[in-house]
Symmetry: C4
Subunit: 200 residues, 4 copies
């Protein structure tokens, strides 16, 4: 059996457009990192120090790259189980892509102000928006009968999509409460997703 | 029945190339928003004020993101009903993509000069050009017999494609007449499209 | 008959990757145009004058957009007649994409120095390289038996692919000879292509 | 026989997303090259000298373009032999794309500091990471039974994937040892790949 045959071209284009936005956002992250200019002192020590000073930017890049990448993997999982799209799906997906396209900004903000509560909170809230849009997209597709999958698979995804917004809200709360480097809390997404999926 | 089989690879490539341009233009919007640099005063209040000062840019980003997104959804609707492409279609589509690719510039202009009549007029006129190119593309495809759809569907699209250029011209006129924040008029596109479609 | 079935996934990926590079290069052109900053004098007259001063940049953007667009249409035409790819095709195509990816730079150079002989010459030569790579790609594919098309179609394309490099070399020569605005000569590509195709 | 039919949509999306990241990274390289501004002295000689001063940047662009391009060709070769994907493949591929997306930064660093040991070492190490991720992706796919190819083809690829990380480590070692222009050593990748493939 070939499941391609049951997929509409409208769905394929939705996924391709989404892949484009994900690919561009994830690749644009790096252009916010400015290479140290060749100054009057061209010594190796000066360049080494300048590169070390870029460490917060590099951390921001790595964190956002893998968070967007993991979101893409989840979007990929959702896409595999869609059999059709309606206009509502297009708009929910557009909302999700809005938050994806916003990530280069919130990442640059976080990188430039890595110790600031406001920066971490903005970053975490924009990621919470991304997670909520993804959960909304899935819910809309399930209710509209556009999902073709076994019941346990649907239930598993219906739960694990909440891991991202939940974690992001926790990170935002921790940042507001003044916890330093609260963004490392994003590493909890995979275990929280696994936990949610196994709830009775 | 599988409608993929009746679609030519030439058409698929046209849609993929277009999706690429849409995806890139929509994602590039954000890089025009400059993150406030870490200044000598690293206080949270200073960062909060700097972010508030970015509000016009953020509004520009949100408006353009959803206007381009809505244009993509309309392009998607047109693409679903195309069964073939000729060289004329390629050129009409290229003209449409020209205005899509121009949006990051007109958006940045609007964001930087959100109270300026000239900026709003340039923005609205470039959006009118986008709408006219889309209407021209559809008309060309219908006349050339490249559209495969029921008559009422064709008639519905033939009318609703005029909603964007009509609204954009109204916004430009309002901006020239000095109406402040004329660009919020773009929110009228969906009701105008619905109205046009229902005309006798 | 469905010609999709005879196309290999290797070929499809080549075309998709190429479409990506074309779409990005064509969309990146605009970010070289800097929006006039909101200065101390926020008057409409100042903004109008600043926009007029951007005219050379806008001309460069329009010229390059349609030249790349036309190259994409030719690449699209070549792609329709390919039935397979080998490693040589991949490398010829990569060389073509190199010149496509270089266009945002040569366009910005032309825009910034629109009256300079050197700028027009660099622009025209990089476009000549693009045209030569496209001709080389086609020749390689024809010789390697990767093209599936009627003989007259093959002959027509084998001739018209020379229109771009020929025109570009003429433009470069005119620029070196000091002809102002030599780049308008690129408008000759379509008639030269039509002429070449009809040669006995 | 049509090998498309045996390919899952999940695999196609993986390849499309990857193509997007490759296409964007390879096209973003050029925007790091700043066009000389029109200064007070608009003479041709001044522009010629300014362009000559960009030579290191142009070299960095050319080297990285063809290194990324060659990596894409190898990724293309791997993709042709995949018949399925699992979550592990998605993550290995994401790691590979991380190093691809990092290339515009390491290229700009190399271009700006072409004589610096640190810059060449960072560049070479990031390329070594790219090569290792590619080798890991292939190894994971082979072990997981996701590869459908003749044994000698599998063995050939299993060997040649080591050419990139091996060469990159040699270049890094040479740079650390103070060999000037060590990055030209990357030209050894094709012969090393050919050599590795022929080992008994």
């Amino acid at each position: 059996m070939n499941d391609r045959e049951t997929r509409s071209p409208g769905l394929e284009r939705l996924l391709l457009f989404s892949d484009g936005v994900f690919a561009i956002a994830i690749t644009l992250l790096v252009i916010e990192i400015r290479v140290p200019a060749a100054g009057p002192d061209p010594g190796e020590a000066a360049l080494g120090a300048a590169l070390l000073a870029l460490l917060p930017q590099l951390i921001g890049f790595v964190v956002s790259f893998f968070l967007i990448g993991q979101t893409w993997i989840e979007h990929h999982r959702i896409g595999r189980h869609l059999a059709a799209v309606d206009v509502g799906t297009l708009w929910w997906n557009l909302l999700l892509l809005f938050f994806v396209a916003f990530m280069p900004f919130s990442t640059a903000l976080l990188s430039e102000h890595i110790a600031s509560r406001i920066a971490v909170t903005v970053y975490a809230l924009s990621f919470a928006g991304l997670g909520l849009a993804k959960a909304g997209l899935w819910r809309h597709a399930v209710r509209g009968g556009q999902v073709k999958a076994e019941r346990p698979v649907v239930r598993g995804i219906s739960r694990r999509v909440w891991a991202t917004p939940l974690t992001a809200v926790l990170v935002a709360a921790a940042a507001i409460a003044g916890v330093p480097f609260a963004f490392v809390g994003f590493a909890l997404i995979p275990p929280i997703a696994a936990l949610l999926r196994r709830l009775p």
